[in-house]
Amino acid sequence: MLALTGRMTVKRLRGWGLLAAPGILFLLVLFGWPLADMAILSLTTPSPSNYAVFAESPVYLDAYVTTFVVALVTTGACLLLGYPYAYLMHTGGRTLALILGFFVLLPFWSSILVRTFAWSVWLQDTGIVNTTLLDAGVIDRPLPLIRNALGTTIGMTHVLLPFMVLSLYAGMRRIDPNLTRAAMSLGASPLTAFRRIFLPLSMAGIYAGSLIVLVISLGFYLTPAVLGDPGKPLIGQLIVEQVTGQLNFGVGGALGVVLLVATLAVVWAGTWLVDLRSVMGYEE
């Protein structure tokens, strides 16, 4: 009987694997094929010369540099704002964790478009910030808060901060609270216990959050299109412009392939520091 159950279990497990087939097939056709098609078009429409745009005009390389700089600054800003937030969520007790968690999830799940549009209401020359400051007599000319890198960075930080907080919080929850307690009972000051015990242990969350924010910000299109400097587009905007504006699928595809390779390189580098499965949200 026992042996029979054992054999049945093995058979059953083999069968379970087949359930993954529809999803894998679906993604191969509707995700794999599009990426492959983009790569093929970049080489064949009309020829690999599409990649020569990098040599012909500095616009494209500049856009990659701007994109990486904005992405790094956004990641830094998210970390700076996200760490204290996640820390209080972790240490502040159940009720506070619930409230702060809701405040994070609400923007996390609300439309990027609405949030970007709302920021333009705040930041434009006749927006809330400038009108308030002008009326208060603090400034006599509107501050340039929009249509520049500042506007893009504010908007992107706002969109990506929830990703950072959720990653940091998940990382902090894995830390054994007894460790900081032990340090303090052995005479460490709270600050020392934080600096020597908690902070190093929360590095996994820091890496995970930074990786996901950096990777997502590399592909931003909407926020820079609405809040950014039209004269200094990010690479996402140039790709869209090539494909929908110029109808130049070849060059658009080539720019896309380079961005894809750059993104995957960042992800690959990130896997040295952090387990990718936890970055994607799988729990242990």
Binding site: G127, G256, T263
Partner: protein
């Protein structure tokens, strides 16, 4: 509780960050009730005229219905395929299972712009740009990883012995699944269906490429209006987007909480 001397400072800093997270978005709500014709702060008076336009304007109404339709079918497709995939990847034993379970999440890390143009190229070949089915397929790609992660986590969080007990008492694999496994993961599955719906409901970048002037989703219509001089109807439409998301999120969180307790 007050072990840290700087705890009071921490509370104030976090309060400011919470305001940064919440407040900017909420500004569209008062703006949607303005009497003025300009999208200007502060709003003047109180009127529902922009909601009236939202409900009577043919293009906006069509787009809202289209968004609901696409979101619904995306939720159904992504939940069915995603739950099946999560089961296969969690319970199955085959070579490359670990790698596959990471690869199925790759739509999360591939920049959406790239997914969008690739999908557009393929849809042009297939002639399905500007179709509801095309939108559902493309949005299902984006929602699928979220469903897989969420269902995988529910599958891992419950006691496998319950299934083994059912099996050892003579239940077949199918009976075990429908009588034991599915009821246990049902809240997680329901939550991921709602997350899939929200993903589609809010999606804009892919939709910009594969919609046409006839078949458009609400975010696409709003985006076009934002770019070409806006009136407060946009704020009303944006408020509608927020409202639907808040409701879906609330229901999803309730479903999730029931799994945890």
């Amino acid at each position: 509780m007050n072990r840290f001397p700087w705890k009071g400072g921490l509370h104030s800093v976090v309060a400011l960050i919470a305001i940064f997270l919440l407040l900017p978005t909420l500004v569209v709500i008062p703006l949607s009730f303005t009497e003025g014709t300009l999208l200007r702060w502060p709003p003047r008076g109180f009127s529902l005229r922009w909601y009236e336009i939202l409900l009577t304007d043919q293009a906006l109404r069509d787009a809202t219905l289209k968004s609901l339709e696409v979101g619904f079918f995306t939720a159904v497709a992504a939940t069915a395929i995603g739950t099946s995939t999560a089961l296969g990847l969690t319970r199955g034993r085959f070579r490359g299972r670990q790698l596959t379970s990471s690869l199925v999440l790759s739509p999360i890390v591939v920049p959406t712009v790239i997914t969008a143009i690739g999908t557009y190229f393929v849809f042009v070949r297939l002639g399905i740009v500007g179709t509801t089915a095309g939108l559902v397929l493309a949005h299902t790609v984006l929602a699928l990883p979220l469903v897989i992660v969420s269902v995988t986590n529910s599958l891992r969080s419950f006691d496998r012995n319950l299934e083994l007990a059912a099996a050892s008492l003579g239940a077949g694999p199918l009976t075990t699944f429908f009588r034991v496994t599915l009821p246990l993961i049902a809240p997680g599955v329901a939550a991921s269906a709602l997350f899939a719906f929200i993903t589609s409901w809010d999606e804009i970048v892919v939709a910009l490429f594969i919609t046409d002037p006839v078949v458009r989703t609400l975010p696409v219509v709003i985006f076009n209006q934002v770019r070409s001089g806006v009136d407060p109807t946009v704020a009303a439409a944006a408020t509608l987007l927020i409202l639907v998301t808040v409701i879906a999120l609330g229901v999803a969180l309730l479903a999730r909480r029931r799994t945890m307790t």
